[in-house]
Symmetry: C2
Subunit: 457 residues, 2 copies
Amino acid sequence: MKLVFLWLLLFVFTFSATTFGALNKTPRLSLINRSLKDPNAVSATVSKDLQVFFYNQTLDHFNFNPESYATFPQRYFINFKWWGGAKTHAPIIVYLGAEGPIDRDIEILGFFTENAPGFNALLVYIEHRFYGESNPVESSGDPDSVEAMAKSVKNETLRGYFNSAQALADYAEILVHLKKKLHAHKSPIIVVGGSYGGMLASWFRLKYPHIALGALASSAPILYFNNLTPQDGYYSIVTKDFKEASVNCYNTIKKSWNEIDRVASMPEGLAILSQKFKTCSPLKDSFELTDFLNSMYAGAAQYNAPPKYPTTRICNGIDEASNAPDILDRIFAGVVAYQPNKTCYNMTSEVSQTSIGWQWQVCSEMVIPIGITSNVSMFPSSPYNVQEFIDDCKKMVLEDISNSILAVKTTEGSHCLDILNSKKTDPDWLIKQRTEEVNIISRWLRKYYRNLGVSKE
Amino acid sequence: MKLVFLWLLLFVFTFSATTFGALNKTPRLSLINRSLKDPNAVSATVSKDLQVFFYNQTLDHFNFNPESYATFPQRYFINFKWWGGAKTHAPIIVYLGAEGPIDRDIEILGFFTENAPGFNALLVYIEHRFYGESNPVESSGDPDSVEAMAKSVKNETLRGYFNSAQALADYAEILVHLKKKLHAHKSPIIVVGGSYGGMLASWFRLKYPHIALGALASSAPILYFNNLTPQDGYYSIVTKDFKEASVNCYNTIKKSWNEIDRVASMPEGLAILSQKFKTCSPLKDSFELTDFLNSMYAGAAQYNAPPKYPTTRICNGIDEASNAPDILDRIFAGVVAYQPNKTCYNMTSEVSQTSIGWQWQVCSEMVIPIGITSNVSMFPSSPYNVQEFIDDCKKMVLEDISNSILAVKTTEGSHCLDILNSKKTDPDWLIKQRTEEVNIISRWLRKYYRNLGVSKE
């Protein structure tokens, strides 16, 4: 059940909308695994104090072309409930939206509502450009509109402005505007993000140090770019998680891929596989099945949150079926354990704003090389197609980068769990992790107010 | 002869290509006052080791539009003569080109060639995009081509990419490329710039801290933007310089503007003024004369370098003519003292790459509000047209901004003189200023190599 969870530097992706084994894998970096809802979560305090605003955002922050001056409405939310106010220079905690509509994130980000009272903090949530209702293409008012996203990434010129540098500049512009509007010139700003949003938070502190006093980057794979982290990083940890859950489970999964290929190559093989795995529609290619299984294993490891620990659940299913002679029946028992009570299993990836938008971001900018080359991987070999070998393995060891860039390590963990709503069932390490993060931010703020007192007042 | 010279934060502009009194004044920020050549300068050691290169530069670093991927050749120079080499991780000192062709800058930047031996440093000089031979418009091969610049700023789309954020990203890309090419991954980089180039150096260290270990910003008015520095800043120091040179001189100049206006309004007034000031062609407007005089006074103060101290020279001319009954004859005596032995004086601004290019940069981005509102100014009132008053007068007092942002102050000074070629006649304060700058950089490098030794080797 234990896994090495490297906070800040974790290899935190699942695949979607691509076939397993393809070279251009598409990592997805959401806060939560949307395929598995958890009804046990304590509901966040989304109060009437939460107000929605739209900022008239600049399309292109970096050039002075005629089209650069175009604007679009960017959505953000403010929760005033706990704010100590501008007069006391009370802090502002800002969530930097990531690759999806911001609505659901607000509900589950317990870190904000749980810590705002202690910090007397204003809470600000800003939606990432092109997602939700912050799409430069005329919005239908539906924050989940797949059509608006599809339209904007088809637009060769418009999509050029859909990138992280522009998103960071958006956040900077809104925050400068907000501090002015609220007369909160001396209120320190802490930016927070999860996964891709965590990378944005790190980069924001780097590029806009005059705006953000500090950044909390939850599960942000900031070093998973070329030449910094080995391509096997992500899947080696998924494999490790399963091996730690059960060696028998690991061996079963490792052997299963060849068996799927063998059956698929038989006459009526796809029909046999469709029947065995209760697919909602007949398989057109065995890739559909292997991609489904790959996503399930990766998602279980990435979001291996207490109290359910999905890797353990899958392995329990597989291990309990160890008497079944067909290895594929054992694998299917794992599927059922993970997602029980389903009449059929949908093997085709759902198309969403996130799958379309993130695909563009991955193809244009967020080139995160993930591959599988290791013999001990429980996944079949699938090397990432890069010319140069990746040497900086030491980067995988997470250490504090400096006195001011702090790494909060835990031996267990689940993707972005630290900033989500706390639960009664939270284990000690998670409580400790959250406390440590809050303590670090408290130190930043204490130092800030101490300096403010000495030099300005 | 004394003037308060605020290194790092000085108000360091002359006007060009605009009429005096116009609201949209165009500051120019060159290293030297090109209207006055100084043959006494010790020639820089431009050796055969200086090689020219062209980098295939990305037009748009911040977007992924089809045209973003366009490239243009960007010129840079490397001087290998004194470099200790990649194996010893010897440092790289980089000049960030500013608003003009880089050729002449290289010749006069004594700071580089004089300190390279002591630092065992590689010297790199990178030309700013759109200037010299680094213009995305097809170049004629003439680095001073006014036509190429005029063409590019007329191109609505192309000129959009002519800005500081893109220029900084250019430098980052070339430096990353260079370190790779030279296998100099552990060679620390110090960036240096003067005036606008000094602002670029400051901003480069801020935005690319992973590339530059430190920055030397010579005479860089980084805080002369809206709400940070009073609009009178620049001209109040020009006035102060002249008052310190001679109170009589100051009073004479202060009174002269009304007299020019009075004569200009007379019948044949412009002809009288043209004759009195020996203009090369008849004045079409008295603005031509007042702009000429304004530029002369401002240039003299901004580039008030030893051993000649042009403010003193002008004032000596004015004071020695104090018996002349007509105040305009006294003013003209100052002109002659400043530029002796001329058969006539050219009152019209010369059009150059810099005047055209910098005009675009000022109009699109570098909005530096300079105005004259003070009663004690020796210049006529000419308020900058901004709505809000500028309050942060304390910013005019130069202090170290932090332990790592150091201000090197001198009570005397001349624009960018610290990084230009040293001369035998250099006064003590200038030698001391240069020594202090070199010492600071030495400390950065010592600390860098100490850390490198501990953690990496």
